[in-house]
Symmetry: C2
Subunit: 379 residues, 2 copies
């Protein structure tokens, strides 16, 4: 196994050679990952960095999950949005437990520490915060793309926003992280952690980033967007959603989720194997078999014919489904709406509930109205 | 008296009309001034904003002196210089007492509160500091000349430096300032205090700035530069130093220190009246009379003749005095140095100790070597 397994699918492992040096220390490394406890579910996308944590754990290292309870209790970093909820200590505690339960389908809970950053951040006084802020220049933070673009555009950036990356960096000091995992958009924060650790006299952490998993709607999978498979979602749901991804995503999902190349041959078979993998990991082989049977019986019964009409999608995105149904099958739009409400309309074998669907999920898919009406949608 | 007296010599009173509204409240206003307790002496220059505080006190308002003990205990804001001393709590306490003793030659100690900002800053936690930093944007701080020039030049600005203006602003929240006094270079800080008070739901303070007093060397009077008259310095020292200012500064000193226009006639008489005022305010009329007698007897004895040679200063600034003495009186430069060391060389009636003097203090002054040799220096 070794380093190739630890860094599989990594986009950045920085600085060069640092991970090798850490591994040569011969002691268990502390592998940090910050987690979001404001969302109800842990997604298959969250699973990608967790899979790296699991790889480290299999080689005897320690996973350290950081719950940003202090930040969460305070609210939105930018102060610009009321969208990010302010949670009570009890809610945070409960959500953190739920996160670990779900994440434990991937990581080893016996080799995982769960730490709440209020443990150290709540005790910092102004003098200590000044010490922390002295480690970093304004330019270092503003040169980051997200800030640089806003600053150049004259958009207001609150001084408080400069403190958030430093809080995350201080978490690395507090837990003495050897490695920090994150998505590629976290690279700057992970590197900021290195600078701050160095200023505090610690051996800086290795920054290890991984790709974001793209979901069936073409966007990054995220709990807030709703386009996700939950790590502990019901087997039938997981199976059906996994079957829903377009063929074009098979390569990424195989590589990131299953950590192997997709098989040659029918994409449908590849998708079935992927769906089996997802359910088996979460719920075991028996549940996966049952989910597949359910999928075959209910979702695929009345299988679409091999040959069918094509129907061109109207312009625009999202696509208003009642209009497509009306055009394709000669229904009135109110009949079309009723059929959708009854669960009688499916796209790529999955029942749809919304009236407007993203174009990317429709192009190339089979649209089915009731049991026997099918068209293949074309862009 | 009224508002004209309160704002005499003010450079900014902002925003327009705000002081009038504060005065119309009919209650004693709280007039804040931050003081530096790292310097041993309070100078005549520090006295300029104190004179405004005294004017407010004479109309029944309250002076609030803010000792930045918290900042002083932490050290240099920029982290770039070891020059600013880190003082112990005891030293700060002692220096603050000394400041008030000296300042009380101008302000009314009975109508003055002395507050240490550690009282409120030491108790702020990260959450409260985030609330504070949310009130201000990075651009608002970086647009200040001192930061803008450094940022444009690519010079490092630590994130901690952005917090110092906010600490000063928070002082205004803590003491509920109605007016903050300061030199013109404090304008941004005084206005930042307004924004922060507003964000904390308080009626923002009025920003009132005054000119810096220019000293005999052409620079702003400051304790760290050594070019100052101490508010409680010995009467003879005060008298002699006041007599040392060039005629060109008489207008500013009369206006700022005495708050009246300089008299017509002999500048020497004007200077004598100014010196009397400074000593009388600090030590009383009897001490002023004694200081003047001392000045006349010792400093002016062997008075310069009405008519004397002129001697052109060599190029350059500062001017190397031994060369001037050698040229003007035919001394060797080693004789000139010895005469200086013995206290036998005077410029404008004041013995000189250094070998290099700023040009501004020499041009137009009488240079005297020993008892009987005089020239008038010309530029």
């Amino acid at each position: 196994m070794g380093i190739a397994e630890l860094t599989r699918n990594a986009v950045h492992v920085l600085p060069d050679g640092a991970l090798e040096k850490k591994l040569a220390l011969g002691r268990p490394l502390r592998v940090k990952l910050g987690i979001d406890v404001t969302a109800p579910d842990v997604t298959l996308g969250n699973g990608i960095p967790l899979q790296r944590m699991a790889a480290f754990q299999r080689e005897g290292h320690i996973g350290v999950l950081i719950v940003g309870d202090y930040t969460t209790r305070i609210g939105d970093p930018s102060g610009r949005s009321a969208a990010r909820p302010i949670l009570s200590a009890e809610e945070i505690e409960r959500n953190a437990k739920r996160f670990v339960d779900q994440a434990s389908t991937i990581i080893d809970p016996e080799r995982t520490e769960v730490r709440f950053n209020g443990e150290w951040l709540a005790g910092l006084d102004f003098a200590e915060i000044l010490r922390l802020t002295r480690t970093t220049t304004v330019a270092q933070i503003l040169e980051r793309d997200d800030f640089a673009n806003r600053y150049a555009a004259g958009a207001p950036i609150s001084v408080s926003e400069l403190l958030y990356p430093l809080m995350q960096a201080y978490d690395s000091v507090a837990v003495e992280a050897d490695v920090e995992l994150g998505g590629t958009d976290q690279l700057y924060n992970l590197l900021a952690g290195r600078d701050v650790m160095d200023a505090y006299g610690l051996d800086p952490q290795v920054a290890l980033t991984v790709e974001y998993l793209v979901s069936w709607d073409g966007a990054g999978m995220s709990a807030s967007r709703g386009n996700y498979i939950g790590l502990e979602e019901a087997p039938e749901e997981q199976f059906g959603k996994a079957m829903r991804i377009p063929d074009s995503l098979l390569e990424q999902w195989y590589r990131l989720v299953m950590e192997e190349p997709p098989p040659e041959g029918d994409p449908l078979d590849a998708k079935l194997a992927l769906a089996r993998f997802v359910v088996t990991r979460a719920h075991g082989a028996a549940a996966a078999r049952a989910a597949e049977e359910h999928f075959t019986r209910v979702v695929r019964e009345g299988r679409a014919p091999d040959e069918m009409r094509e129907h061109a999608l109207p312009a625009g995105d999202p696509v208003h489904l009642p209009v497509v149904l009306a055009d394709a099958f000669g229904l009135s739009t109110s009949e079309a709406r009723r059929l959708i409400a009854q669960g009688g309309v499916k796209v790529a074998d999955v029942p749809v509930s919304g009236l407007d669907l993203p174009r990317v999920s429709l192009a190339g898919a089979v649209l089915r109205a009731g049991k026997r009406r099918f068209v293949r949608l074309t862009d």
